[in-house]
Symmetry: C2
Subunit: 325 residues, 2 copies
């Protein structure tokens, strides 16, 4: 395998500083999903923890280094909500001073939980890219640590610990389906899979309404977009980070784009057949299967259910009415 | 502690024959629930596995003994659905011939899953107690193993492994809330808690519409009822087993009855604030807190979310409409 910014020994070391509450998450075959999908499906469930997403794996690595480093204990990040909630949780446990910058259009439940975890929350009147700019400005002005999701290697290493768990317990998968946003999850898990189980296909899935990283991967150069239009708030970026794209080019076998209707159908299928409440980003894998059943027929896929933070009313609107299976 | 039928060393041994997919389930603080409940709440989540309930812990013990025993590989049980699904799963993995007897009024999703797991399903035109009688008759007639939930010690030992996990990772609880039906879960977990963390309160919760075991515990003798009237199908028994009651008298500090409206409010709270789909039995602990906030104020409780097998339409009816928090 070509080099990436990640290192498997460092990822193993990351496991040792992550609170065990976020590790060794459930991984199980979900046969009730299979008639609807036409392939064997396993779930890697990252939502049964205090922040309801995988993001704390990364923020635990960031926060433990900051707490042990003897320097400033202040930290700022931009977040669509899940990274901020996770950083707030990790920081609170270690006495860090956490600031989160988010779009004022972010999922309300995510913003509420960030506040409830005692972090300072600053809202910008724009999208996630504006929040990234503002967080960088805060860091420069205050002279504090900026956590940049996917660029900062700890966020990738934390996410990559999921990969260790996937290859340790179940090397029988043909394909792993990974939600693609900034790229920490995809490059982290992808690195481990390609290093330790190279026969397993690494397939990234992004919404058609937020396609910047997928288009960049296909074009082998950074492609930005002017706007995003998707309910999958957790992966709605417009400006891929070059170093992350370079890693993704090494580890991803393919990247596909899915429609909003498929994301909603995936959320509904996970609720009805698996009893799982998921946020839109966490249904991208199922959406990809729904859009191309032939591709997966007869295969065994694992999909990472990466988060479940939803606004209740919006969620009910997505899954509550309309078509049944 | 007075003797029960359970033995902590045997429970530790049970862990070694249970498929790890059912062990070491998530245990985490859920702060989003706490404003609504007025106490610290942790979740022990038993639904993120192939059968979506804790019951496979017990059926794994039963099935491994049968598979290793060299005798008949046929087995029958009565079930409201979760035990049958779990026995079907455990039996399929070991080449056992599994028959499940259930009420024709049982939750359809549970019956469908039993069939999908290749078990023989026999329906009786009556309630769960009639299914128990019929299963016993099948066992006598066919000369095969009858698995009696809560009476057969393996079902209690399997459930008791949850107790080992509770006391291993978090001895800081004041109270553990346990759904009370036949009693395997309550006596199993209760035994371990009283043996290894005797300061923790063991509080059993049953629906007011299916109060036989609670009334028996209070009266210190078996009390039966003529009927049940509850949506909590998993705990709707009418005829407590004397030996199980004897154990419950040793390990339970209290047993309370809750109303149907509280069970529904508990299910809705778990969906809205914790993102968890649960079946009614799994909301009994939250229902108990909702009915008596003063009792739990300032305490740290853990509630075992014991199952999530619901009929989708019924579930939507319970949680989908009406009052918000």
């Amino acid at each position: 395998m070509q080099e990436t910014r990640l290192d498997t020994d460092r990822i193993r070391a990351a496991r040792r500083v992550i609170d065990p509450i976020f590790l060794d998450t459930p991984l199980y075959r979900c046969e009730a999903l299979e008639p609807g999908l036409g392939c064997a499906v396993s779930i890697k469930l990252e939502t049964a923890n205090p922040v309801r997403s995988f993001k704390a794996r990364g923020t635990e690595v960031v926060a433990s280094a900051l707490a042990d480093g003897g320097g400033s204990r202040a930290v700022v990040c931009a977040s669509a909500g899940n990274l901020g909630q996770a950083l707030a949780w990790s920081g609170r446990h270690r006495g860090l001073d956490v600031t989160v910058v988010a779009s004022r259009f972010a999922t309300v439940a995510k913003l509420d939980r960030i506040r409830a975890l005692d972090a300072r929350l600053e809202l910008v009147d724009g999208d996630h890219e504006m929040a990234r700019e503002r967080a960088a400005a805060v860091a420069r002005y205050d002279g504090i640590r900026l956590v940049e999701d996917s660029l900062d290697i700890e966020t990738c290493e934390g996410a990559a610990t999921i990969g260790l768990e996937l290859v340790a317990t179940a090397p029988s998968f043909d394909t792993v389906l990974i939600a693609l946003g900034g790229g920490a999850l995809a490059t982290g898990v992808g690195h481990v899979v390609k290093a330790l189980a190279p026969g397993v296909e690494v397939l990234c899935v992004q919404p058609l309404g937020a396609p910047a990283m997928t288009r960049s991967w296909r074009g082998r150069r950074v492609v930005t977009t002017d706007s995003t239009d998707t309910i999958a708030d957790g992966v709605a970026g417009r400006r891929p980070i070059p170093a992350v794209l370079d890693d993704l080019l090494v580890v991803a076998d393919d990247a596909v784009l899915v429609q909003e209707a498929s994301i909603i159908a995936g959320m509904r299928l996970l609720l009805d057949q698996a009893g799982l409440v998921v946020e839109p980003s966490a249904a991208l894998g199922i959406a990809a299967i729904l859009e191309d059943r032939d591709r997966f027929a007869g295969r065994h896929v694992v999909t990472i259910v990466c988060g479940s933070n939803v606004d209740v009313d919006a969620y009910r609107g997505w899954v509550g009415a309309g078509v049944r299976h």
